[in-house]
């Protein structure tokens, strides 16, 4: 079986081409960060607006490396019993019941309390061994024979206490379980942490990670993404659509449309057999990529201007102009 570190990335370009093979189009900056994370065996903290492909990046890396993806979704109140391990209390109880007879058998001949306890001590701590351990994502990640990609999603949603708890995992790829001891990763996993920046992460955490910020893509990159993700979309529609979305991002919105929303919209337009963006078409499908009532209202207001702008941008053969809108 191939393990995580049997794969090699000799250069940054290998990373971006392998990512492109699984339809993940990225900038060189992103590829560099992933390349370093892989080769330096450091976790990587990925920030950026929602829907630019932070989670997707981890998934794609798991596919490329051909190892399992283990995902830990963070939320307020997440603690180690849900992230690392828990004892199988039910099983423990059941076994004590079942083994009661055995216990009596074992105790035969022991005179007095001290002798009984002495005899019990002769056995290992059966009930707090790995058989009764319920592994949670972090534990699983450290135990993968072939290594894995560990995705700690939306770390900013977790409590500061949990963040502190993660430090040991992130710096040494090990955790301490009081009853068992320290568990060290068999193969160091490739760790991605994602954050939507709802709160600032602690310095200690940031120090242990490489940092990567994924912004909204430039028009050229976004067009390539659409080509890959929505095959069948015509060139002209692709151009117009991307130019329009880029123009929309420039206006003041509560939530800007992200790449995943561009893809959704493209799929919608494909279903509607659209050839060009028209005023009516855009107005009726605006809710696919704008998620707030007031955003839709303010976009509708500026619709003719935005559309005109998009048409103009789409006609320009060079991407240099689009970049300025990104």
């Amino acid at each position: 079986m191939k393990s995580l570190h049997d794969s090699h990335f000799d250069t940054v370009d290998v990373v971006s081409s392998r990512l492109a093979d699984v339809d993940y189009i990225c900038t060189r900056e992103l590829a560099t960060a992933v390349y370093l994370a892989f080769n330096l065996e450091k976790p990587i903290l990925v920030e950026g607006p929602a829907g630019v492909g932070k989670t997707e990046l981890a998934k794609s890396m798991a596919t490329i490396l051909d190892v399992p993806l283990i995902r830990l979704q963070c939320y307020e109140g997440l603690d180690e019993s849900k992230a690392l391990y828990e004892w199988k209390y039910g099983k423990q109880l059941l076994y004590t019941q079942l083994l009661k007879d055995k216990l009596a058998e074992m105790m035969q001949g022991a005179v007095g309390l001290a002798a009984s306890i002495e005899r019990l001590h002769g056995h290992d701590d059966l009930f707090f061994s790995e058989h009764f351990l319920e592994p949670r994502p972090l534990y699983q990640a450290l135990h993968q024979e072939r290594g894995c990609v560990l995705l700690i999603d939306e770390i900013d949603k977790s409590d500061p206490e949990f963040e502190a708890f993660l430090l040991e995992v992130l710096s040494d790829f090990q955790v301490s379980v009081p009853e068992i001891g320290t568990i060290v990763a068999k193969v160091k996993p490739l760790v991605f942490l994602t954050s939507n920046n709802t709160r600032e992460m602690s310095d200690a955490l940031k120090r242990r990670c490489l940092h990567l910020h994924i912004p909204f893509p430039e028009a050229k990159v976004e067009r390539t993404i659409l080509e890959r993700r929505v095959p069948g979309l015509s060139q002209t529609l692709n151009r117009e659509l991307v130019a329009f979305v880029q123009a929309v991002r420039a206006i003041d919105l509560k939530k800007q449309p992200s790449v995943s929303e561009t893809i959704d919209w493209a799929k919608t337009l494909l279903l509607l057999n659209a050839e060009h963006l028209s005023l009516d078409l855009v107005r009726s499908t605006l809710n696919v990529f704008l998620k707030f009532e007031q955003d839709i209202a303010s976009a509708t207001e500026q619709l003719p201007a935005l559309l005109a702008q998009a048409r103009k941008d789409a006609e320009l053969p060079l991407s240099s102009h689009h970049a300025s809108h990104a």
Binding site: V12, L40, W87
Partner: protein, 470 residues
């Protein structure tokens, strides 16, 4: 390469980016992986390892461009652009020996060879900018230019670098040429070259000073600003002050953000307890108690902006503005002789403009604390309850008007806490037209506050006691 990296870390610190030891090691390993050949790649690699936040990234990009810009030695006559930065080798990394082969000088009668390759005079007269740049970089490294701190050290380092480049030889040549009276033209040439050398080196030192010298001096300056009386601080330091106040505010916010839940002993959280103790067959080994979320303090801040506290007012408003960013619910008011709500102004404008606007609109002379207290009584009192902290910033100089201390008493009774920060030292309270002695009994905290240190301590206390006594 190690030396170049270390210099780059210094330059980053000069731009106010913290570079931890850990990050330095990562950066070194990363550069070993990606190499120095490709500029953009190097930039991404260093960026990923050294920079941890998005705002820092922009600063990093700037510093990178500045640092990895090859410092060229301008040739006479000026106009020839330096080596293009596209394929820039990191500064000072060229082996010195390269200097020998390049550039043939128009060696005159006095041209003697320096120990490190060609005589300086030859290079200067030939206008061999590549060799000169290299020699300048090497000299800079030899004399430790990256340790430069103050602009006063400019002359010292300029001199040192010139000497390391071979100035003594050049001087000797000039003297010699003067003695040989038949060559006045050569004397003039050499002297022009010497002057040119001085200018170039001095410019070079200035550029380096702006890169490395800012961090330590800024630290000193910050320290100075924090302890200085607010009234003595120059207006041009306002932006820097705002930075410091913001930093303090952020630090406090991080420290206090965690204390948000508080257990109420005595009230069992039955569900959680049952669930957790299923492990022990329903025997309640572990208990969980109901907890309440501790509310963030609700603050009503009232600031005097009259003539008598004019110098302080700017900073008090700055403080209010920062408080507004930090504490969830702040209502800000300013006054001279009547109360004005400035929360909207703070929310709408960036700090500098907001402060100016308030000073213009509300400021003036003739403070009337009595009137203001009456305004508070009429407009605000109904909104002040056991959750509210009232923060008053002012000198309590009432121009001999009616004090209306009884309103302060009502305020004291209703609010959770009343805090009065007075820029005057305690010994001045109650002297002349100061009513502070009459107001102070109705304040939970009344204290002198005229430096940033004072402000920080008060803010810390404000947040701490609020969550503890909630």
């Amino acid at each position: 390469m190690q030396a170049t990296l270390e210099d780059f870390f210094k330059a980053l610190r000069g731009s106010d980016i913290e570079v931890s030891l850990n990050a330095q090691i990562d950066a070194a390993r990363a550069t070993a992986l990606v190499g120095w050949r490709e500029r953009e790649l190097l930039k991404s690699a260093l960026g990923a390892t050294l920079v941890k936040t998005v705002p820092d990234r922009a600063i990093f990009d700037q510093t990178f461009e500045r640092f990895f810009h090859f410092d060229t030695f301008g040739t006479r006559p000026a106009g020839q652009p330096g080596a293009s930065p596209a394929a820039t080798p990191p500064p000072g990394e060229q082996p010195q020996s390269n200097a020998e082969g390049s550039g043939q000088g128009s060696g005159g009668p006095g041209g003697c060879q320096g120990s490190a390759g060609q005589a300086l005079s030859q290079l200067l007269l030939a206008g061999d900018s590549a060799a000169l740049s290299r020699r300048m970089q090497q000299a800079a490294r030899d004399v430790g230019l990256t340790d430069i701190w103050f602009f006063t050290q400019k002359g010292y380092y300029t001199q040192k670098i010139q000497q390391a480049m071979g100035l003594d030889l050049l001087d000797r040549e000039i003297t010699e040429a003067r003695r040989q009276t038949q060559a006045p033209q050569r004397v003039a040439e050499l002297e022009r070259a010497r002057k040119h050398l001085f200018n170039e080196v001095r410019n070079f030192v200035e550029r380096k000073l702006s890169m490395y010298g800012t961090a330590p001096t800024r630290e000193l300056h910050d320290d100075f600003l924090q302890t200085q009386k607010l009234s003595n601080i120059d207006r041009r330091d306002f932006a820097r002050m705002h930075e410091i106040v913001r930093k303090i505010a952020r630090r406090l916010a991080e420290r206090h953000a965690r204390r948000k839940r508080r257990e109420q002993r005595g009230q069992l959280d039955f569900r959680r307890t049952m669930r957790a103790n299923a492990a022990y067959g329903g025997v309640m080994f572990e208990t969980f108690w109901r907890s309440t979320k501790v509310e963030r303090p609700r603050v009503v801040a009232i600031c005097d902006v009259s003539g008598s506290v004019r110098q302080y007012a700017r900073f008090l408003l700055l403080f209010l503005y920062s408080l507004d960013e930090l504490v969830s619910e702040v209502q800000s008011f300013a006054f001279t002789n009547h109360l004005v709500d400035v929360s909207a102004t703070f929310a709408a404008l960036p700090v500098e403009q907001a402060v100016d606007r308030v000073m213009q609109a509300v400021g003036g002379s003739g403070t009337d604390y009595g009137q203001v207290l009456q305004d508070i009584d009429e407009q605000l009192m109904h909104r002040i309850d056991r959750r509210t902290t009232v923060l008053i910033l002012g000198d309590a100089r009432n121009n001999r008007g009616e004090a209306h201390a009884e309103i302060m008493r009502t305020l004291y009774g209703r609010a959770r806490r009343v805090i009065w920060l007075n820029p005057e030292p305690v010994s001045f309270w109650g002297l002349g037209d100061s009513e502070m002695k009459r107001y102070a009994p109705y304040c939970h905290i009344a204290r002198e506050c005229n430096s940033l240190r004072h402000l920080e301590r008060t803010l810390d206390e404000l947040l701490r006691t609020n969550s503890a006594s909630a």
